[in-house]
Assembly symmetry: D2
Homo-oligomer: 488 residues x 4
């Protein structure tokens, strides 16, 4: 018998003029300044508590936030105050909204997620959310977020929790697994990017005046492996446009390393998207660099195989280089703005955080893609798995919109990843590392290895990241004991 | 394996300045004038084709509609033209929107739905949508609506179809059963009424400034047996208010015939609502007069039993008297307005038709309760059953919002009716009257009869309404042959 | 995700020559002598521990059992010893098999189950397993059987548990709810009786040489509301025979009190069976006296309504009279046999206990109907509900056979009872009497009452049986507090 | 709503003394002589019609069968006559039993199934039932078996159909898809082999007197990827034995080509079995050579990877060499027996055909593993998929036994193959080759290829086997048109 499940809702109304936001990971060098500027241009008021492992970074952001509302040469439409806090409790107590956005030092973690699997022949493109790298990122992150969920239950059970931390499906699932009544939303830009691109096609192919907000899609799947089976621009069906494009030059481009060498790692040529659309008649709605980790055919044949689709690997060097540890200096801009070395303006980001928040306090009805536990919005994936679909946000409520199911072959591709995620989440309850290995073993990327090679890869990743896996029981593991790579 | 089901959507955008509406049942004396006035005050433009069995009634409404936009002493904000048409094809061809709202002459049908079951001891309160009367109304109506669905498939497959005809669940289900790709919405006022009442409680108990549009509910169920498990006013949780009210005087009123004698049959004292809320902790969201036909305990003990809860029976005399056959004169008002005997004003109705239409053409994002095939929005009722939940309406799309499931006892009450409805719908495919009797036999109202009495009641209803049941195979029925009441 | 559920199995093989049976309720005056004789004629050997609230009755049965194997003038084919024990622990420790068959004093319980509902207009035929009487029997019995299950978990977790206690579905469900790994079988004679009757029809209509064991049926449902959709005699399809009979005189008999006055309460004229077969094309497989409590149409119109189908009520006077409290003398036969006043012979009973036991120790493969948690054997009832289907018994394993699902109307009738049972079982976990009332309220018999009358009936039954309901929390009940009949 | 599904049953009893068997593929050189000898030693009598594409082979077998019952120097316990027939209609009309066992000329088909995928890096071990080879075998075979099903519907709808043709899951599924009321059983030796091996362990480790028939298992899965989660020998739990073995030397053997060079391709060292048991705690129950095609980790790293587990590839040369086209001479033995060159004895095969048949005519209750549409016997795979579990066979009925579900990771591995199978079956309804390619693309073996390589492999296989794919629409395929390997 199905439980009486509702979608997320909070019990007490939020006062739009006195919103308290707790920002865990508030020392962020990029997202925090964006948030501060977006809030400054809103019709909402309140205070933000910045909490970070690196307190100084949080302080710097607090200083910047308060500067925007006092000394900067701009005219905010709202009033917000900022404060760096030194404890989780101080951040959370009485918060209306919690933002979760943290990351471990990639030099110690992420580079291994990419490089060690490569030694075994797995050429992940990002290695961030699924496959051996994604799974280990989840294994490091999930226990921490269980603690966050427990703290939220204790200090602000009714708060709206915005999770931006990857792997979004694993992490959001863990929050609900730990505290089922949490009001947590898993947020991601990929579907927004698809709508941006569809707006471009509407302009180019239909000569319409179109931007992202004019595009509506019926989206469903799991984060980074979402699919669209309806797309409209102001009500006009875009399917015929897509069918033309996939059959034409747009859908048939081939790339080599030479074409990509000077490109950003974020380059997206949509050739994976078109190929999957051609094969299955539904349109993937995430960047190609993410899709290839889920539709693993595309990462076969190493770099050449990947490049052919216009995808450039996000190498570990890139990540290590571009991730500035939070304790270090802020981005030049914040420093420069504060110092007056650069003119400061209230630009808007592309984030939808303020749009969602405005709807939650009753200022609007807003529809966007959100990762939430499945209560029926995806009809052929299991209940409770965290799925991504559109949701409608209104005063104090977020309800997913029923998005239906998938053609069988697409569902098969997705279901395999759900099985991995759910196996890992279940294993994480007791820190059962051998149970986690079962989820690892059935991962689509890893199935290209012999089981013994998979075991060694697993053990090697455990060995090198052991310091981040303290919530797992490494001492009583048959898998690790069998292995050569892990010496205990 | 679940099909790839989406919620309803149309392929082509509607031009807000050139909307074509086909109104089947357009001779209506009440709903049509409301529609005409609502459209006149909108920011949409177009033409309406009125089709009715009684052509003259359609003509009168057309005349009135055109008068509003030409000769009346008002200032419409829009331009609409009206035309009475003489064929289904003429009405439907190229229509963007179809309104379905028709009714058979109650003197020949509805009075029997009420009076004959009463002879068998079944004291229905309205007898309109479930129970022996509701089932026979369905048996008369479903075949006609299958024909409408077939005509829509032929002439305007992409149109948005608004069904207002009762029994809404049966009828909407039949439309989809006949033409699965139809974009049909089943619409009803009952949940709107609950939101009205909740707004009143918010004003009275919380001293809030509140009206219907400030109330959001999580609603789910089947039409006339919908339930709410969340209710907010501008984000403020109303559950504590409801719990206070049910425990106090408000929740403990008793009524007798003397209290009700002078009341309208529409009087709603919410005592059934409160009793069900007390028992099951979820709030019914339909008028008490409808609820009692689904939660059949309340129609036991005849009139006294029913009146105790403040419900007054909608007697057959009332219905026959108040239903003015469409071929007769329009309501005095339209006549009087046209004749200048009464001052005409552009009042707004409480209908949400124009609100939905504005969203469909892209002017708004609008949330309201709509009856749609279950694609997951109600997680513990079966796929394809027509369920009522909130839906989000945007340009050319209507998506139900995931509403979750029920506490087991409530689900049990609902499931029984779903089984009746689905059995009748399946029987209607081939006009199998004996299969329909199986659905009749398991109806909650009818289970208080011995099976032989149920058979005679069934046969007697068939006999008296035979002229409206021509799509059913009455000649080869074991049930009718066994019966005394039907002589074939 | 479905759990990895197997059907019941035990871990250790049973030695056919050293079987230890614990018999709870072993003071029984009828079933125990049958068991003793059946075992004496078997090819199995061991010991039986008799445990009973009335120790003397157990002692008498032990004396009788040992007498059969020593002093009686018969030649047992096996060796069995009997011992009365004074504690649950002494009975269960190390047992291979546990028999559960106990009953409360009906003068203090059962007569109320029948008579009080009758005051409210509910004319139950047996009132033993569903409806107000059955529910209260369950409410008394379930807590005791939870204790038995806990004791089995402690003392003999691997034992095979044969439950004969009514209501079999409630009780067997409670055993599994308390101790999910229990190897419990719910057993009942009704389906065996149907097979007996089908053998008679095979003899009479097909002139076959047939007895019960020649009849195979595909049976499914819940105990006392089981249905057959295939029936064969030695492979010959009996469906055409049944279709002839239902259409002829056999299927069209009517009865009055005069016809039944001199009959036993166990008289079964199959008119309910035929009427349900006629309506739904599947054959009920339980005595008519039980069926009418589940297909509640048949108990409408009081005694006359019931008698018309050839069913005679099992009045409370009958029960009180025929139930000889276990502490009193045994049946005349055992006394008479022991005293030599009556010749003793080793007759076989109709019980299948020894047949099942022989298969469990590896002597046979045996198929019979057994009540077990649903692991898929009934495809359209929920997992874990206790359902009755055929099962195949082999060495140390019992596996239900996949029996498929139901035509929708029949499923609807069954599902309603499953909802009642599951609601009560869930309520019993914490002794939540108000939650139990929700299950009571949705019962098919009780739905003919107004909710307030249902509440008073419930409260009155609680009041009169309070001494047997000590595991329920009666002190903090909103329902009882509202009531007049229960004064706390 | 779930359909009313039963397991397979026939309407009319079979006369054990006059059984008519139609054997399609009756020219078989190995299975037919086995059948003839098994029948000769049974207590059943009747006639066998042998039908084969190669009539002479059928004639030879008929001659041999009749010789056994007339001129051979043995004493059959039964009477059977044999006849070669020249049409499907002649074989099937009035048959009680149909045996399906045919194969295309491997030199033209099977060798390509193995060799062409190898060119793409897919090193299948048998390539017979899944992966590119298995899928193409299915694509050739399914249309033919749809025709057989249609002929059975026409000529002997009630017959018991024994399918031995691989891929058993695809083929059995196709029979039911074409004729849902067919009484078809999919049969395979693999689980029997597992029980053989378990008997050996019971002898060796527990010193029990054990043979295959003493072993009972709870088996479930799809053919060639079945799993056991309970195993007993005469009721004694074998799980502790298996856990010891997997941890010891038995479970830790490594092999190289040198170890295997002289072995038969059927060598089974159980190292795949043990590795999967170690990883997932359930025991696979099919030969390692089959398992590796479903648990595709084991076929990574080519020959070395495969050999390490003690599995030897069934090379295409082996198949071509050992398959003697049916039109050629029979095996030496039949010839030699007939000529008197070799002494003929009535040895029993290991086949269970006669055991099942004896139960079907009412002589026994027999339990064995059978492939059947899922009606609930496997609780977490979808309805209608053909699954393999135990079934109980009795007079004219075969009912699967409820076997429960899987641990999630194992279910994930199986579900992927079910998705492939169901996609291909659905594609085969209309011969939609592009839809079939979608099933091909999601196959676990093929996912190690880039999508374009998968397309070329597909096209190449189509090109080389085109003559066997005439029921597929090759002329209007986007996939083939894109390809280089298929020129149309």
């Amino acid at each position: 018998m199905s439980q009486q499940v509702h979608a997320v809702t909070a019990e007490t109304a939020i006062d739009p003029d006195d919103i308290t936001i707790a920002y865990l990971g508030g020392g962020s060098r990029q997202w925090a300044p964006n948030l501060i500027r977006d809030l400054a241009q809103s019709d909402l008021n309140g205070q933000v508590r910045l909490y970070d492992e690196y307190y100084e970074s949080a302080q710097r952001n607090a200083e910047f936030g308060n500067w925007v509302h006092s000394d900067a040469d701009v005219e905010p439409t709202s009033e917000w105050s900022y404060e760096a806090v030194e404890s989780l409790e101080a951040a959370l107590t009485g918060a209306d909204v919690v933002i979760l956005s943290t990351q471990y030092n990639p030099a110690e973690t992420f580079v291994h997620d990419l490089d060690i699997p490569e030694d075994y022949g797995i050429y992940g493109a990002v290695a961030a959310t699924i496959g051996p790298g994604g799974i280990f990122r989840a294994m490091r992150t999930v226990p921490l977020y269980r603690k966050f969920a427990a703290a939220i239950r204790e200090h602000c059970p009714d708060a709206w929790v915005f999770n931006y931390t990857n792997p979004v499906h694993f992490v959001t699932r863990a929050l609900y697994d730990e505290f089922p009544e949490i009001n947590a939303l898993g947020l991601c830009h990929e579907v927004l990017g698809t709508r941006h691109r569809l707006a471009r096609y509407a302009r180019e192919e239909l000569d319409m005046d179109a931007e992202r907000s004019d595009i509506s899609v019926n989206v469903k799947g799991i984060n980074h492996f979402t699919w669209v089976d309806e797309a409209r621009c102001k009500g006009v069906d875009l399917w015929p446009v897509l069918e033309d494009l996939v059959d034409g030059d747009e859908g048939h481009q081939e790339f080599t390393w030479d074409d990509l060498e000077d490109e950003s790692v974020f380059v997206d040529n949509w050739q994976v998207t078109w190929e999957l659309f051609r094969r299955f008649d539904v349109l993937p709605a995430a960047g190609d660099r993410h899709l290839v980790e889920y539709a693993t055919s595309f990462i076969q044949n190493g770099q050449e195989g990947l490049n052919r689709w216009g995808v450039k690997r996000t190498g570990s060097d890139y990540r290590a280089k571009h991730w500035t540890p939070a304790e270090s200096d802020q981005t030049t801009d914040v420093e420069a703005w504060l110092e007056g070395d650069k003119e400061f303006e209230l630009e808007e980001s592309n984030e939808v955080f303020v749009d969602i928040l405005r709807a939650l306090v009753g200022r609007d009805t807003y529809v966007t893609n959100i990762n939430l536990p499945n209560v029926g919005q995806v009809s052929d994936l299991e209940e409770n798995a965290v799925v991504e679909t559109n949701a409608t946000v209104r005063a104090n409520e977020v309800k997913p919109m029923a998005a239906g199911g998938f053609p069988r072959p697409v569902r098969a591709l997705i279901q395999g990843h759900v099985d991995t995620i759910e196996t890992i989440i279940e294993a994480s309850r007791e820190g059962d590392i051998d149970a986690a290995f079962e989820g690892f073993l059935i991962d689509q990327q890893i199935r290209t290895l012999q089981t013994e090679a998979a075991r060694e890869l697993f053990a090697e990743l455990v060995a090198v990241q052991e310091g981040y896996l303290e919530d797992w029981d490494l001492s009583d593991s048959a898998v690790l004991e069998e292995s050569e790579a892990y010496q205990g």
